[in-house]
Symmetry: C2
Subunit: 134 residues, 2 copies
């Protein structure tokens, strides 16, 4: 696997309406898309800066992954997503190197990208997403 850049940083927030003005007014970024990802039980807001994005995640269900994360740890950085050429190949490469996977094969994430997660137990505590167009 060769990660080419950080595709995005996922940040759990209690409320997009409260957090978006901070990113826009204080940091000078622009929210260019808001999208609900039903499967993940989140509503997302995206900001682009350089070759990376910030993805704010608001839970739409207390039993969803972001709802549980905020209940346990409070709002904050949730996951780190690396861009790769081919997600299934990258997942297979990671597993071959002894990394525990959350997803054996890609699924569809926000912005139509293929995504797959590595388990934080194998990645030194960082919930790690691989994503790409293939």
């Amino acid at each position: 696997m060769k990660a080419t850049h950080i595709e995005h940083i996922g940040i759990a927030v209690k409320s997009l309406d409260e957090a978006i003005p901070y990113y826009e007014k204080v940091l000078g970024l622009k929210c260019y898309a808001i999208e609900e990802v039903e499967e993940q039980k989140v509503k997302t807001a995206f900001f682009k800066l350089g070759d990376t994005k910030i993805e704010l995640l608001e839970s739409t269900d207390p039993e969803g992954p972001i709802g549980k994360f905020i209940e346990k740890k409070g709002p904050g950085m949730h996951h780190l997503a690396f861009a790769v050429d081919n997600v299934d190949q990258a997942l297979a490469d990671a597993e071959e190197n002894g990394v525990k996977l959350i997803d054996k094969k890609h699924r569809k994430g926000a912005e139509g990208l293929n995504i797959g997660f590595l388990h934080p137990k194998s990645t030194f505590g960082v919930l790690t997403e691989l994503c790409g167009e293939e």
Copy 2:
């Protein structure tokens, strides 16, 4: 303030020696520098990808900020650093917008950059660093 890109993502690890091989072998990155920042009581390892860096942080003192963070929360993402043109001006802008500051003025961080931190209470749980050459 206008953040131009993500300068780096700071990740707390228990051991650089254990974590570096994961970033190199699994993600295909290359550690290009290891630097001790005595004031912060950390040893850092840097990886560049795209216009961003990953900064792994190993504590050199259990009473230092990273030592305490790991004891409380375990290893994982610790802070998010945005590149700005002028750190003191960006800190002043943030304060004017009601953000609580950790640093009123810049101090020196890794790689000789000027750095200053915003308080996570004002940034929706994300410990936020501003950094730049000025």
